[in-house]
């Protein structure tokens, strides 16, 4: 048989893939299939999958989660572009220190971020003490959507800033010089040359930011279990009401949304994947 060594190689490759495939199938594919089935097996049957749209509670949960994630994404991008471009293009004393403070929070799990928010704007928070000293009234934001917003901002900024700085490094300086030689003002250069060149990085890191915020659990959990975001709702259904079918269905829907957002990000800028928070 003239293809013997090639066949041997193919078999060897299959054998090397086998452990990964078995573990993945046994512990993710199969359980996920069961999750989908459970989602459709409750009292409302397959309609549970539409619950997120039909039932007012879940719909509002979904909407607030989407709005929150979208707002965080927008704010993060604006902040990251300004600070990121500044750090990328200027060298000054203390720059490495600022960079280090930006990368450090990358490894924080959502719980720690929640704690950071509490320390900043919680009942004994730093900001609260300052406003009390200045205005006589403590500003407490932590246990509401505003606190969650700050928390999501906290773990999104490091990620997006680093991506933008990496993209800014690759910008071709010649394009900006050409624009300036044609008379463009700094603002026009930003608007017409820099931002369009950064667009792929902005879209992909924005999509990752959106997906991470949609699926984030730890932060909201730490701040209060009553905040109305979808992951908390799902958690509540599962643990408090033992509403397995609904929890399953809602988490599948959430999973689809985050997966779509990340697929969009990857299709625009190659493979970069968020670690959930």
């Amino acid at each position: 048989m003239s293809s013997s060594p090639a066949r041997r190689e193919a078999l060897r490759h299959m054998a090397l893939l086998l452990p990964v495939l078995t573990i993945f199938s046994a512990f993710w594919l199969l359980p996920m299939a069961r999750l989908v089935a459970v989602g459709a097996g409750g009292p409302t049957g397959i309609a549970a999958y539409w619950a997120v749209v039909t039932d007012a509670r879940y719909f509002s949960s979904l909407v607030s989660t989407i709005l929150l994630s979208a707002t965080v994404t927008l704010a993060t991008i604006v902040i990251s572009v300004i600070a990121g471009m500044f750090l990328q293009r200027n060298r000054f004393f203390g720059r490495s220190f600022l960079l280090a403070t930006l990368t450090f929070p990358l490894a924080f799990p959502g719980v720690v971020v929640g704690f950071m928010v509490i320390l900043l704007v919680g009942r004994q928070g730093f900001v609260g003490s300052i406003t009390e000293w200045l205005f006589g009234e403590k500003l407490v934001l932590a246990y509401s959507m505003a606190g969650l917003f700050l928390g999501y901002l906290y773990f999104s900024i490091p990620r997006v800033i680093l991506t933008i700085m990496a993209a800014a490094e690759k910008l071709d300086g010649a394009l900006e010089e050409a624009a300036r030689s044609l008379g463009a003002s700094p603002w026009q250069v930003i608007r017409d040359v820099i931002l369009p060149a950064l667009k792929p990085a902005l879209i992909s890191s924005g999509a990752i930011c959106f997906a991470t915020s949609m699926g984030a659990f730890g932060t909201a959990f730490t701040l209060a279990t009553k905040i109305n975001v979808l992951p908390i709702t799902i958690y509540g259904e599962f643990t408090n009401y033992a509403n397995f079918a609904l929890a399953a269905a809602l988490s599948i829907v959430l999973g689809l949304i985050t997966w779509l957002a990340l697929a969009l990000a990857r299709s625009i800028a190659g493979s970069t994947v968020a670690a959930a928070a």
């Binding site: 990964v20 999750l35 730093f126 659990f217 730890g218 493979s271 994947v273």
Partner: protein
């Protein structure tokens, strides 16, 4: 060199952003070593909170380390060979496989955890053992190991190196251990750091899968934030920082361009 007002404006903005990130970290460190947070530093510095955290939560710290190392071992054993096959065979199926492996990260940890509980929760022994958590961590960190090794394998001309070793008579096992693995060292190391860091900090999946007897560090943190006083939560967070910082520094050092490190090496050898 005089700077424009725009420079200072941007500098102020950036400093503000960094302050937003750093101030709570500083606060938590202070809170963890102060007698009483509300009184502040005037109440004196102490390590009693750290000691108390240790007496309450030392098991969680050991468990987190243990699970992180176990996760590393598993991802190395199954992930490196998988990366090799994905690097050698670049076709439609291998691309699907890469996409597939990424799913547990793309999908909220909550969903993965729910799925595991629904299917395997009935096996009591499995459900209450730390291996249940291990499974979740492996699923979550595997794509990072595979991607890291794959990146390095893609950069070296893997096929030609293998052909050269084969032309000299080396069998597959010999090629794999003599030539392929040594030349992927950097990817394996970077992947390992990533896996350990992610496993130590993993919460979303672990929270759903844990039992009172199998609590990891992040789970313990959530517990302490909810039920203990601020100083204890802060001291616990300090311990977490201490464990995470070396890993982050190592990762930062690894991602430096190789010629910077090579130059440093050459300087050493003179």
């Amino acid at each position: 060199m005089s700077r424009s007002p725009r420079f200072y404006l941007q500098l102020a903005f950036t400093v503000l952003v960094c302050a937003f990130l750093v101030v709570p970290v500083v606060l938590s460190i202070m809170a963890g070593v102060t007698e009483n947070f509300f009184i502040g530093i005037k109440s004196g510095l102490t390590l009693r909170w750290v000691v108390e955290v240790w007496s309450l939560y030392s098991k969680t710290i050991f468990l987190s380390i243990g699970i992180a190392l176990a996760t590393l071992a598993v991802t190395l054993l199954i992930g490196v060979p998988a990366a090799y096959v994905l690097a050698r065979r670049q076709n439609r199926y291998t691309r699907w496989m890469e996409e597939l492996l990424v799913l547990p990260v793309a999908v909220p940890g909550l969903a993965t955890a729910l799925a595991l509980i629904l299917l395997y929760g009935q096996f009591r022994g499995f459900r209450i053992s730390w291996s249940f958590i291990l499974v979740g961590h492996v699923l979550f960190t595997l794509p990072f190991m595979v991607r890291s090794v794959l990146a390095v394998m893609g950069a070296i001309d893997l096929k030609t190196l293998e052909d050269a070793a084969a032309s000299l008579g080396a069998s597959f096992t010999q090629r794999f251990f003599h030539v392929i693995l040594p030349n992927c060292r950097q990817g394996i190391l970077a992947g390992a750091l990533m896996v350990v860091t992610l496993s130590m900090g993993e919460f979303n999946i672990t929270w759903m899968l844990h039992t009172p007897l199998t609590m990891t560090l992040p789970v313990g943190l959530a517990d302490s934030y909810a039920s203990m006083r601020l100083e204890i939560g802060s001291a616990y967070t300090i311990i977490f920082f201490i464990m995470i910082i070396p890993l982050l520094v190592a990762m930062q050092w690894m991602s430096e361009p190789p010629n910077v490190r090579a130059r440093a090496r050459k300087k050493q050898h003179g």
